[in-house]
Symmetry: D2
Subunit: 202 residues, 4 copies
């Protein structure tokens, strides 16, 4: 297979990319100068060399010297009393953008598919349990997952996995509040959200 087709196939596996757009990516690259292509190529080849999975929260981070933990986990300014469990790195970024949370994170590495028999193989449940056991200062564990069926399923699996160790160290387990999201119009809001919005009225 020639390089163009090879590269087109790789681009097709990029999230959300179909065959036409994969091809357009290749034409885009063909129009770049050799220097730019070299830079992109090096960045891709080296991306994992410089990236490490954080020993604390398990998210990807850029290693600068030889640190084992990401900037959030090694920060002195964040509370050790709260742990937020999220599915993916991008959820950490959403949370940080909101600037509303200053505790620790734990990245599961995905949501648990609803029919999955061995969630431990799919997401870091064992690692999470160990972390909670080893964190006597924790007062609250927030399971912050999507408000959809896969998220609910993951919530239940995670809660069951850590309920006893959380109780032992004296940390309560919470989850994100439900209600009207920004921009929601009552007329078009589903009954479950309305129920939640009423329950959480303030």
């Amino acid at each position: 297979m020639d390089l163009i087709h090879e590269l087109t196939e790789y681009f097709r596996k990029f999230p959300g990319i179909g065959p036409k757009q994969a091809q357009r990516f290749v034409y885009h690259l063909l129009r770049q100068d050799t220097y730019t292509l070299q830079k992109i190529s090096s960045a891709i080849a080296g991306i994992k060399k410089n990236v490490r999975t954080c020993a604390g929260c398990f998210r990807f981070f850029m290693v600068r010297q030889d640190e084992k933990k990401c900037s959030i986990c090694s920060s002195k300014n964040r509370s050790q009393a709260t742990l937020m469990i999220v599915a993916n790195d991008s959820d950490v970024e959403s949370m940080e953008r909101s600037a509303a949370f200053d505790g620790q994170y734990f990245v599961l590495g995905g949501l648990v598919p609803i029919l999955n028999k061995n969630p431990e193989e799919k997401v870091r449940l064992n690692e999470l349990r160990k972390l909670v056991e080893a964190s006597p200062d924790l007062r609250e564990i927030i399971i912050a997952v999507n408000a959809n069926p896969e998220g609910e399923h993951t919530l239940n699996i995670v809660r069951a996995k850590i309920a006893d160790v959380a109780e032992k160290i004296g940390a309560k387990i919470t989850t994100l509040g439900r209600g009207l999201s920004t921009g929601a119009e009552i007329e078009y809001t589903d009954s479950e959200t309305i129920k939640n919005a009423l329950r959480n009225r303030f």
Copy 2:
């Protein structure tokens, strides 16, 4: 103007209807038999004769005998201690569908436009104030408006309008809870909603 054009113009003023669809409505009617057209015509002519604005909540309702109040306002099974203020009739229906509220309603008749100088002319603020003053049994007033700028603005206007009388009768003023709505994915959720979801965690 002939009847086809006249009717097309009326249909164009229907909410969400453009010129093409207005015309399609007319063709649709032209294909109906005379009996059906008579039925539709009578229903439109008579719709207000049988409909009254409820003396309690101000929403439209079908008069059966000569009652002054709608079925919700005249029900013995609903709490007199809670009043929910909504913008429109359709919001009452959303709430009733959720089956999560069993108090009284008050329909403002719209949201207050942000630049409006005389909100009293636009929505039933004076009527609302009178109602609250005359309702010593009220313990809570829920202002249930859309989670968008016009809703926020209406919330502020309504709150200011009734704050003193609500205090006098000893009713607290609340609003709908904010957070993740059903189906929300954290990665795509705006920072304000995330902040609210964190604040309302449970």
Copy 3:
């Protein structure tokens, strides 16, 4: 059933209207004054009284005195040598908007569904055949139908129905040209359209 529900049901049968929008139409009417409601009601009741199916092309038209034919069919300025066969009244309007055709029309009353066994019961094929037989001045019959499977099917059915009488009076049968429509981009154009665009190059 009360008038509000009755009217909501009628609106739900309007083309493209779901239950929510049907209800919104009713609220829209409830907010109109009695005079406006009377006008709409009369227009609907009277719409067929003033409308007749044209004895020439079979489209709907507003009767002014007691004419049997629509303004196009009774115009002296339009060619009698060309007949365009279309599915619906709205197709006549599209054609007239383009100002590119000055012949006669014939409205079939719909497209022939692909699995239909008795197309004569569905669209005016017999009436069309009679018209062609009785039109010795016709030189061309344009079958102007949608460029989709149902349109192709209708094209074939209509052509088969009138081929012999068209030949007898010496009229050729044509159909609309295929190619790039306004705004089409070659990269996103399907192969069939490209083939047609190449065949019809000029």
Copy 4:
């Protein structure tokens, strides 16, 4: 700037990619194994080494030995009498997919922006003129551009640029046919397309 941000910036310049999706691409790569990353990296670094601009039609092609022309331009089975001028490589692919053209291609390298003063600097007009001058066997030159304003503009510019040399060698200049594209419904078709469909009826 670290490699993750660097790569995110490169992905943001990919056609149709916003900041969120660029970031998702990076996470996608971080989840690949080192072998796959090496393969993608090499393909990008080498893509231009193996790709040449065809000396005939100017499109990109994979060099196998040391050939100067792409497989279409060097094919013995394609007519030398027809030349199709297109804007981009992807248009050649659309045409080849349709299997309706067996002549030669010329890739302009883009469309001419409407306000552009120096089209010769933007697309290969001079190269095209030279090619036509040197092709005495040409009988037809098809300018195959998008049916939108930029396409029309390019059509006019190209035609003006080669009109005299085309006449000298005895080649006529044509363009793609206009009309209903596959799936078009008459009711929703613009007047210009209807005009073209009527003019090209068959």
